[in-house]
């Protein structure tokens, strides 16, 4: 089994260099510095709180999210927003080694 097969995700986040990150969304690739990534993480956490999600569903059913110091605007529907939240969460998740 080839474990090196590259999987293409609809939304993806990668570390390019020491302090540059790349966010791939449905229609664009955005380069982010670390503070910009932290700001995006905070915005996404706020938008995916249950009360915010209910508000979004009750109104437009999509969000327009600024990224990279307002240089980019991302259009996301609810599943894409949740997908972005999961992507960012797993990027920040601390993996702890487990002895088997």
């Amino acid at each position: 089994m080839n474990v090196d097969v590259s999987v293409e995700y609809e939304i993806d986040l990668k570390e390019i260099t020491f302090c540059k990150y790349e966010l791939k969304t449905v229609n664009k690739r955005i380069t982010l510095s670390f503070p910009q990534l932290l700001q995006l993480r905070n915005n996404v956490i706020q938008l995916t709180k249950p009360e915010s999600l209910y508000d979004i569903i009750d109104t437009e059913n999509f969000v327009l999210l600024f990224a990279a110091d307002k240089q980019h605007l991302i259009y996301l529907d609810i599943p894409q927003l949740l997908n972005l939240r999961n992507t960012i969460d797993s990027f920040f998740y601390s993996f702890k080694s487990v002895s088997i």
Partner: protein, 168 residues
């Protein structure tokens, strides 16, 4: 913490979120003390007004300590919005009782962050929070002592009770 972001941040991201919530809590406490100071100031309760103005400043200093700590360790401190500050009180004693409740909430919140920091092996935050734990213990003790004065001086004129309360 074995992720790409470890190179940028010393503190754990989950702990950082809790610290940001703590900033909001401290700023809310500061605003609340300011409302209490105003209530006392309008009624010429000189010692109490000084005490609450000082408390308002102290809570803001606590918030700022956490704020700079987050940024110094590679995180992103969030400036909070402070809403729903109560400006309406029934008595001076009720104000001090509310203050004690507020301090207890702040202490509990710090304990929660401390536990999370320990769980996530975030030793930097754990050490940083030790000062806050001692500080909260002192704050709670001060409030309890003041409420004791009210119990001892029950029935005395309010101005006389105020004269026996600490200014800071």
């Amino acid at each position: 913490m074995k992720t790409a972001i470890r190179k940028q941040m010393t503190i754990n991201p989950v702990v950082m979120d809790l610290l940001n919530s703590q900033i909001a809590l401290e700023m809310k406490a500061s605003a609340s003390y300011l409302a209490m100071a105003s209530w006392c100031d309008q009624r010429e309760l000189i010692n109490s007004k000084s005490f609450f103005y000082k408390q308002a400043e102290e809570e803001r200093e606590h918030a700022m300590k956490i704020f700079t700590f987050i940024n110094d360790n590679g995180g992103a401190a969030i400036s909070p919005s402070v809403e729903n500050v109560n400006n309406d009180f029934e008595s001076l004693r009720a104000i001090y009782e509310t203050s004690l409740e507020q301090e207890i909430n702040v202490t509990e919140s710090i304990f929660k962050i401390f536990k999370t920091a320990r769980k996530e092996d975030d030793f930097v935050t754990e050490v940083f929070l030790q000062w806050f734990i001692s500080e909260q213990s002192e704050e709670e003790d001060t409030m309890r002592s003041i409420i004791d004065v009210f119990d001892l001086m029950e029935g005395m004129p309010l101005k006389m009770i105020d004269e026996r309360l600490p200014k800071e």
